[in-house]
Symmetry: C2
Subunit: 369 residues, 2 copies
């Protein structure tokens, strides 16, 4: 039972808690055949973060690469033991259908390419793990879900924090009532974006800080509260004279109304560094700072910062990425829906679109149930 | 020069910085005649907090009490050396006009009584220091200002944080550019209000947590940024089944838009404890937690909480209250306008009314310049 410690508080798509753990005795055990991944896109995240994580996985292995740079692909393949037949480019990408070693395609491309490469993967008979944000629009998200459904393939979104030990522990304690009734959620996420990033090109990114870093605050609001917002209000502030922000937003603040009465206050920015999550209940608070970093996350539970939780129960993997990769692998083996399926990415995207609409129209936007 | 360390960064009414320090060589020096105060209302704040502060003052002394409880008044008078002729009740209150020892009346009554007792004091020829919130409506605030103006008397509002060392140091560092360009301000203020408080009776308080504790977040937003908001959006959440909240609000979140582009996000609540101020600039941040407590405030400046400022330059008084009382005394002696005059209370009240309107109408409210 790999996921035993998460039983009862795994985060299901939609923010609700899953009634049962993800793992089951029928799932692959260490030593069984590992699920083969193709990484699409050898940029900072795919090459720098994801590929080195397979060594931490129990059920996942790297078997293929897709890159527009053949030299880079060969170099990476050699370093990570990917066979020559596992090297693809964007022209022959569809021929992955003929490679039975590939079970899952992990799309680590600019956001504008997510839909195309997810849909082509599904048509090639592969399961898909796609980075967040899922796509540049909810319409694209719907097409991706439909394509995977039509192909009978799974679709998971790369929401790594669902596999991160401090976040899981915070959720567990909130659900256990340690801070009483939750009243208020707040999260700020921002960093100083560098000029030249593709994320500043709207055609590639779909949007600015909200799509890139603010989505962590939105996700956290949903998985920490376990609720879906019913309305949003947003205010954008961008210095259009700053060369970085000619196409996309810098700061956007958004307020979420939840059905239980919890108020969510979130901030996203490309012009300052912040990474913070706070849950306030009528009996105490849970605070993470940083909350969603690659490493070094910290958690406090109590009245203030008197009590730090330095050793939360381990997450489902050696790292948040290993947990994520192996979760998809187990879902493939056991034919289960990933806890952060395409529908989860679609929900975020619909809320993001409402946030942008609210900021444009300077009014509260009610969300469809 | 008592206020020398504050020269150049004293907070003027309206949130702007005063060009000169409050003190001047013409002001009263230690040893000169002290300004006489009458304290109106021997409740928790007047009796528990203000009266014991005169021992820390250089220019202020307690000379009179106004109370509806003669036994209590006599007891307090004996303890603090107030002469028999300095004991008043609410019926003979207007006869303070005949007591030349009284220079300033400090109104420490429930909010609904502020206007009446301020106006009567002005008519009796006395200067007034009135607790915050200034009154239950901006219309009352205007009447109070008019009455004091007509009487040629000064009116100051009890915004003690303008005299609190950590807050002053935070403002100084923000203005000095230590965190670069300010982008975002956030403040949460709340505590668990007890059932039975007069503050839960709307007729006495004028409103709920916003009037009582959220006003600290609003004030901080204005004095920390040095700007006046141009628009607000607010969302209220109150459990009306909670017996405490039959008449007034529990939680109210409000977002402030400032002319420079700074976004302000504030939260007020009566159902959880929080006292936090954060300024984020493009080069760092300033954080106070708690930020506006009676004691124990803490300040960090930098990227996170690595650098705590444990010894800010002292405020204008031995305590924030002594600084406040002596500031009014010096203003009386030197015929200067207090840095937190009635107009400052009126500004807050107009914003508070817009916040309530926004929450009621669920829409953004533009503020008059």
């Amino acid at each position: 039972m790999i996921d035993q410690h998460r039983r009862g508080f795994v985060l299901a798509a939609g923010g609700a808690l899953a009634a049962t753990a993800v793992g089951s005795p029928a799932l692959a055990q260490p030593g069984d055949k590992k699920i083969g991944y193709a990484i699409v896109g050898l940029g900072g995240y795919g090459l720098g973060i994801i590929i080195p994580q397979f060594k931490n996985c129990q059920h996942s292995k790297l078997v293929a690469l897709v890159s527009g740079d053949p030299d880079k692909a060969r170099r990476v393949a050699a370093e990570y033991g990917v066979p020559e037949k596992g090297i693809y480019n964007y022209e022959n990408y569809d021929s992955i259908r003929d490679n039975p070693d590939i079970d899952v395609v992990y799309v680590c491309l600019p956001v504008s390419m997510h839909a195309e490469y997810t849909i082509r993967a599904a048509k090639a008979g592969k399961h898909v793990l796609c980075e967040k944000p899922m796509a540049v629009s909810s319409a694209e998200c719907e097409k991706m879900i439909a394509a995977c459904k039509a192909a009978g393939r799974k679709l998971m979104i790369g929401y790594r924090c669902h596999f991160e030990a401090f976040n899981l522990e915070a959720v567990r304690r909130a659900r256990a009532g340690e801070i009483g009734q939750l009243r208020y959620f707040r999260s700020e996420h921002g960093f100083v974006q560098r000029d030249g990033s593709w994320r500043l090109k709207k055609a590639m990114s779909g949007g600015g800080s909200l799509m890139d870093i603010g989505i962590y605050a939105l996700q956290a609001a949903r998985y920490m509260t376990g609720e879906e917002p019913v309305a949003v209000y947003a205010h954008e502030q961008t210095d259009r004279k700053d060369v970085r922000f000619r196409e996309v937003e810098d700061m956007i603040q958004f307020e979420l109304e939840f059905p239980s009465g919890v108020i969510g206050s979130c901030m996203s920015m490309y012009s300052a560094n912040q990474n913070h999550i706070l849950l306030m209940g009528d009996k105490g608070r849970i605070e993470l700072e940083p909350g969603t970093s690659y490493s070094g996350n910290r958690l406090w539970v109590g009245r203030g910062r008197e009590t730090e939780i330095t050793a939360p129960p381990p997450g489902p993997g050696a790292t948040q990425w290993a947990g994520q990769l192996d979760h998809m692998a187990r879902c493939v083996v056991s034919d289960r829906q990933p806890i952060v399926a395409g529908e989860e990415g679609l929900r975020d995207m619909r809320i993001i679109e409402a946030i942008y609409q609210s900021a444009r129209e300077k009014r509260r936007i009610a969300l469809r149930a």
